[in-house]
């Protein structure tokens, strides 16, 4: 089981790397879904079965579909990929890479100073999560629902007018 | 109850004036005026009954107190108290309040109700500052006084009002921050020492141990008040604010708001930190002396009449600072008289300049000249006030400045002698002002009316009080005496300051200790 965890972790990292390096946005999207699925496996292995399901259904399933919709609406074609390729010259990677490397070193260094132990390997099932959500986190859940509502309204409001513009476009 | 009454009348009068103002501006002015007159009447009643009682007090030096719990858990109480010093300054507040309402009778034509609301709230804040005996409450009033003042300058001021209002607010708020830090530090220091969380003046008065932390706290108080006074170096907000403010604003600023700084020294900075103040006394006295001379020097340089008058405040309050930190009985009494006298004479000069601006729409001294022949009454009044301001004996300022210098001389003859040069420099700027405005060749100006009945009434009252303080200041001295006594008796800083200057071991009036009987001739 541990091996599965590491394999899926490796897949996730590689897929994520590919996500950010691809010039075709649909490819990137697919790699990211791949990364998400790998993450779902990791969750499952860690015993978080509920979020493993969530990640597949909502993240990979719903949110990514939104991206696909938008990409379709924007109608980005091959010229976009060329543009992306032109933008991704090697030197643009240097700064962010260094920055991230520094952060990673710091992270590793500071994690290395503490040995917090291992994960328990016990499954924390949907029941427990549900009890927690509608117990102590009830208020937060309400707030999350408000947030979603706000997101809905915001998206609706912002999206108005765009559709008509899209329709007119040949 | 009278104390709360004062605040309620003033603040309530402001609201009433605002409400009534929607209906009639005239009524609004009258409401404001009557509210302040009621204050003044109340204060005179307090003073007379105090004098009639022969100065007997329940709990010296307090004449009146009220004390209600306010925010219990933090040890904050609504505690007001009035002693002789407060009485004098609150009376000055009411008096100058009346004068400034009178002075803006025709000057202010826009947003009249709001103007009177802000003016009266400023006055209420000032009174509160003079009365509060709870440090939190004190700070509350301290801020209450600033915010309306900011609007007073920013809305009804002259050309550069917005910038001046910002500058005023930044400086005073910076000072206020230090003051508040000092108050909180003292609060926690006191709590750590005694385990009691209290903002009560009386409890905090128990004394703080000598420590560098206490010195920092004292410095916080000192700087907070020094900005307000203003001590030279922190004074640059003053000329801008005074110049740009409307007449009433200038009168309140110079006549009252600067006094809150001096009052803060007398009421809080010195009694709360006697030892720490002693360490600072010589520096403060030197600053005061510099202020006297530098303020006078700057005043002379100005071409804007109002700015000139504004700079004179720095000079006059230098005397107050010198007297406060010289710290013996003479100097302290002198400083208190200086506060009153400066309020009257400089307030009066601001009203004169305001009246000029209302008539000629300029304050520039090179655009005005030879006004005496067209408006002789104003010339006479201005001459009187200028002469009072330069410290002519027989008028109020002289009594204060002379007492301050005599007291200072016992502590540091050199500083007293240098400060006495202020007599020369003050005469230069005062008479220069008169020369540039009222003397010299007549300029073709537009016809302007001389002082009318309303203005003459204001000036008449101011002049009468200045003469009274000049020839018979004894009632004021007697009223302030208990406060000064308690300051002197607790003031170790006096002796230390004297030591520091390496002068006489004791001044003669400290030795005699002024038996009580001497004060009974009234």
């Amino acid at each position: 089981m541990t091996a599965i965890f590491y394999i899926s972790a490796a897949i996730a990292v590689v897929a994520t790397f590919l996500t950010i390096t691809r010039v075709n946005v649909v490819h990137s999207l697919l790699y990211f879904i791949c990364s998400l699925l790998a993450t779902g496996v990791m969750f499952f292995v860690l015993g978080a079965t509920f979020v493993a399901a969530l990640v597949v259904i909502i993240n990979a399933g719903a949110i990514m579909v939104l991206f696909v919709f938008v990409i379709m609406m924007l109608n980005v074609g091959p010229q976009s990929a060329d543009q992306e390729r032109a933008r991704l010259r090697p030197h643009v990677w240097i700064g962010p890479g260094l920055l991230s490397l520094l952060l990673l070193i710091e992270l590793v260094y500071s994690l290395g100073r503490y040995h917090t132990g291992v994960t328990s390997g016990q499954t924390v099932g949907p029941q427990q999560v549900g009890t927690a959500l509608f117990g102590p986190y009830l208020l937060a859940v309400e707030l999350a629902s408000m947030l979603l509502l706000a997101g809905l309204l915001g998206a609706y409001h912002l999206g108005r007018g765009v559709m008509t513009f899209m329709d007119r476009k040949p | 109850m009278i104390l709360a009454g004062l605040l309620i009348i003033t603040a309530g009068g402001g609201i009433l004036a605002w409400v009534v103002g929607a209906w009639s501006e005239r009524a609004c002015r009258w409401v404001a005026l009557l509210a302040l007159c009621a204050d003044l009447a109340l204060l005179i009643f307090v003073w007379v009954s105090y004098s009639a009682s022969g100065g007997a007090l329940m709990e010296p030096p307090w004449l009146l107190q009220i004390d209600y719990p306010w925010i219990g858990p933090l040890g904050i109480r609504f505690h007001l108290g009035m002693d002789g010093l407060s009485l004098l300054l609150v009376t000055l507040t009411a008096f100058l309040g009346i004068a400034s309402v009178g002075a803006s009778w025709t000057e202010i034509r826009e947003h009249v109700p709001a103007f009177h609301l802000t003016l009266l709230w400023t006055l209420a804040g000032t009174m509160g500052v003079f009365l509060a005996l709870d440090l939190f409450l004190f700070y509350f009033f301290w801020e209450l006084m600033l915010v309306p003042m900011y609007f007073l300058i920013g809305i009804w001021g002259h050309e550069g009002r917005v910038r001046a209002a910002y500058k005023f607010f930044l400086f005073t708020q910076g000072g206020g921050l230090l003051l508040f830090a000092g108050i909180l530090g003292l609060y926690f220091l006191h709590a750590r020492n005694t385990g009691v969380y209290s903002f009560q003046y009386r409890e905090l008065l128990q004394g703080v141990a000598s420590s560098s932390f206490a010195f920092m706290l004292m410095l916080g108080f000192f700087l907070g008040f020094a900005v307000k006074l203003p001590v030279v170096g922190l004074h640059t907000w003053l000329p801008d604010a005074h110049t740009e403010a409307p007449t009433a604003g200038s009168v309140v600023l110079a006549g009252l708001m600067l006094k809150t700084g001096a009052y803060g020294f007398l009421r809080f900075a010195l009694p709360l930190f006697p030892n720490q103040s002693a360490e600072l006394a010589s520096a403060a006295m030197i600053l005061g002396t510099i202020g006297i001379l530098y303020g006078a020097f700057l005043a002379f340089a100005q071409t804007d009449a109002k700015r000139l008058v504004a700079y004179t405040s720095i000079s006059h309050l230098g005397f107050a600072l010198l007297g406060i930190y010289a710290g013996n009985r003479l100097a302290l009494q002198g400083a208190i008289i200086v506060l009153l006298a400066h309020g009257l004479s400089t307030g009066g000069l601001f009203i004169v300049v305001g009246a000029l601006q209302e008539r000629f729409h300029t304050r520039r001294m090179d655009e005005l000249s030879g006004l005496w022949s067209s408006i002789p009454r104003m010339g006479g009044v201005a001459m009187f006030l200028a002469v009072a301001s330069l410290g002519l004996p027989g008028l109020a300022n002289f009594v204060g400045e002379f007492l301050v210098l005599t007291g200072t001389f016992a502590v540091s003859p050199v500083l007293a002698a240098i400060a006495a040069l202020g007599f020369v420099l003050s005469s230069i700027y005062s008479l220069w002002l008169i020369y540039r405005l009222f003397q010299g060749p007549e300029r073709r100006m537009k016809e302007a009316p001389d002082l009318g009945g309303r203005e003459m009434a204001i000036f008449g009252a101011i002049i009468a009080v200045i003469i009274w303080l000049g020839v018979y200041p004894q009632p004021v001295l007697t009223t302030a005496k208990p406060t000064v006594d308690s300051l002197v008796s607790s003031a170790t800083y006096v002796m230390q300051a004297a030591d520091e200057f390496g002068e006489r071991e004791r001044s003669p009036y400290e030795e005699t200790g002024a038996p009580e009987a001497e004060y009974d001739e009234r």
């Binding site: - | 020097f297 700057l298 100005q302 002789p376 002698a417 005469s427 001044s507 005699t512 002024a514």
Partner: protein, 628 residues
């Protein structure tokens, strides 16, 4: 009668109060009645008091009257109290009497001036302040009077305020005297701090316990001396007095000749014990007096303006009084003050008549031959001039000035001072009669039409007459040995320290003085009446013209002060108009504005830049956490 003393200073003040409150609303007649009435009544009471005092001197020869307690803080308790002794009484009666006469004169002189009421208000205030000064019982009240007269001097010099020159002169007078006043005030601080009282007799008592020449009396006396020097226009603070002639002539007569300028003399006489305790300062007084009178006499010789001649003459005569004080001839100084008050006021009033008749002409060389047109004025003027020059016939002997010179001669090491004084006598006679000859003799330069009002001539004649006969009491003493002013003053002031060894001494010296004075007159006659061309040729030589310009410009004092003090002060003030301290705060504002500019340039709207900043911040923060 003595209990009416308080009325003497109060009456003029009441007159001032009425005139000030009515502010020019009253008719001229009413103004005159109030102003002249108040001062005259005051003068009458003063005379009555003098009579009462001389008939039955009060116990201890001092009468004091406390009006009210001014203020009391600890033992700082100056009262508003009056102190009458022989000294203050002499001063009081002279001041009140001369004031009354000059007020009467002014009703004529100012008759058509628009500021009639204002003028009399100031004059009344002045008289009140001067009498307060004279009668004050403590130094603080004296200081009140002292400053009060200074203020009135300022107000009256600048009375015709439309001319900036007049106002400048007034300001100069006030500022210069204020410098002295400040020194005086510091002296008061010193005396109070050391002695614990300001009451003059108490101060003098206390001070006499100190060793002569010790620090306290010397310092205090020196400070008071500076005050006296400024007020009495003594070197080097004399520059304001000639300019003060910008005021109306009665003002010059009253304030800048008869009364206020002698306040310094009075102060030193009043505090004589203090000065005796400070021999060095007393010597300085004598030297200042002697030098001043000489310097001023030279300047007087060169002036064209009749009032400026008289002004320098006043400086010079007060120099004599200082000399007298310095050599310990207290009574002689006061005596000279009295005679000087009369004759110098008379000279000014005479000059005023002439100026008025010639339509504000001040230049003596544009006058001439006036003795035929105005004989009464001429004779009175001549009498006063003779008194000033100290010549027979009427002011025959023991003129006050001669008393002073005798004492100077007798005092220790005073021969040098005596010689200076003698030169001064010669010069005095010369410049006085230069003026007389040029104004009243010689060819007439104009044909004035006007006739002086009686109210102007009468006080003038009375004063000239009094000045001339003022020598008589002393003369009588010399002949009959009766009571005279000096011995009268002895109750308040110490007598002359030395006397001539033989009775012939005074007569011999008298001859010398008379001869000197006559020589001066003769020289003036020769140079200005008989042969003016000599004068012109002397002045036209290079040395002559240089000296003339130098003396004419008051020995360059004004120039020096302008360069040393006034100029730098004004220039510095102008440079610093915007307050150098504010630069600091302006700098703060600038710095925060610069920082604001820098920071707001980082807010460039580029999302990726923001993210990079967040990441960089995270690197730093986490790095700090890791490292620390």
């Amino acid at each position: 009668m003595l209990s009416l003393l308080w009325l003497v200073p109060i009456l003029p003040l009441v007159g001032f109060a009425i005139l000030a409150v009515t502010a020019g609303q009253l008719a001229r007649k009413a103004v005159s009645v109030i102003a002249v009435g108040a001062v005259s009544l005051s003068a009458l009471i003063a005379i009555g008091i003098t009579v009462a005092y001389t008939i039955t001197a009060p116990a201890g020869t001092v009468y004091s009257q406390t009006l009210w307690q001014w203020m009391r803080v600890g033992n700082f308790a100056p009262a508003v109290a009056l102190h009458l002794d022989a000294l203050s009484m002499t001063m009081m009666v002279v001041v009140a009497f001369v004031s009354a006469l000059i007020h009467i004169y002014s009703t004529g002189f100012m008759a058509d001036d628009t500021g009639y009421s204002r003028f009399f208000a100031y004059m009344n205030l002045f008289v009140g302040a001067m009498l307060t000064l004279v009668l004050a019982d403590n130094l603080l009240l004296l200081y009140l009077g002292w400053e009060g007269v200074g203020l009135c001097s300022y107000l009256l010099i600048g009375f015709w305020y439309r001319d900036p020159d007049n106002v400048r002169a007034a300001l100069k007078a006030f500022f210069v005297t204020r410098i002295g006043d400040t020194a005086f005030a510091i002296g008061i601080f010193l005396l109070f701090t050391s002695l614990g009282t300001l009451n003059i007799p108490a101060v003098l008592d206390e001070i006499s316990t100190y060793a002569p020449g010790s620090t306290l009396p010397t310092a205090a006396a020196a400070l008071l001396l500076v005050g006296a020097m400024a007020k009495s226009a003594q070197l080097p603070l004399q520059t304001w007095l000639p300019d003060a002639m910008a005021g109306p002539t009665p003002v010059s007569a009253l304030i800048h000749a008869a009364t206020m300028v002698t306040a310094g003399v009075y102060l030193i006489a009043r505090m004589h014990t203090l000065f005796v305790m400070a021999p060095a300062v007393l010597l300085a007084v004598a030297i200042i007096g002697a030098v001043t009178q000489l310097v001023a006499s030279f300047s007087a010789l060169t002036q064209y303006d009749i009032k400026r001649i008289l002004a320098y003459s006043t400086i010079s005569q007060i120099g004599y009084m200082f000399l007298a004080l310095g050599v310990g001839a207290w009574a002689a100084a006061i005596y000279h003050f009295g005679t000087h008050a009369f004759f110098k006021a008379a000279l000014f009033l005479g000059a005023g008549v002439v100026i008025k008749m010639l339509d504000e002409e001040h230049d003596i060389f544009k006058m001439g031959g006036l003795r035929h047109r105005y004989p009464l004025t001429f004779w009175a003027f001549l009498f006063a001039a003779l008194t000033l020059a100290a010549v027979p016939p009427l002011t025959i002997t023991f003129n006050s000035k001669d008393l002073i010179l005798n004492q100077a001669f007798l005092s220790k090491g005073g021969r040098g001072l005596w010689i200076l004084g003698l030169i001064g006598t010669f010069l005095t006679a010369a410049y006085t009669f230069r003026m007389v000859f040029v104004v009243f003799f010689g060819p007439a330069q104009s044909r004035p039409e006007k006739t002086p009002a009686r109210s102007m001539v009468a006080p003038f004649v009375v004063l000239a007459f009094l000045g001339a006969i003022a020598g008589i009491p002393e003369l009588l003493t010399a002949i009959f040995g009766s009571q005279n002013l000096s011995s009268f003053l002895r109750s308040a002031l110490p007598g002359p320290t030395r006397d001539f060894p033989s009775a012939d001494g005074p007569w011999l010296f008298q001859l010398i003085y008379v001869a000197t004075a006559l020589a001066g007159i003769a020289v003036a006659y020769l140079l200005y009446e008989r042969a003016p061309q000599y004068t012109r040729s002397v002045v036209s030589t290079s040395v002559g013209s240089w000296l003339h310009r130098w003396w004419f410009a008051d020995w360059g004092f004004d120039w020096l002060y302008q360069k040393l003090f006034v100029g730098p002060y004004v220039v510095l003030a102008r440079i610093n108009r915007n307050d150098v301290v504010d630069l600091f705060y302006k700098g703060l504002a600038l710095i925060s504005r610069v920082i604001n500019g820098l920071l707001s340039s980082t807010v460039n709207g580029n999302v990726r830049w923001y993210v990079a900043a967040v990441a960089g911040g995270a690197v730093i923060v986490v790095g700090l956490v890791v490292i620390l």
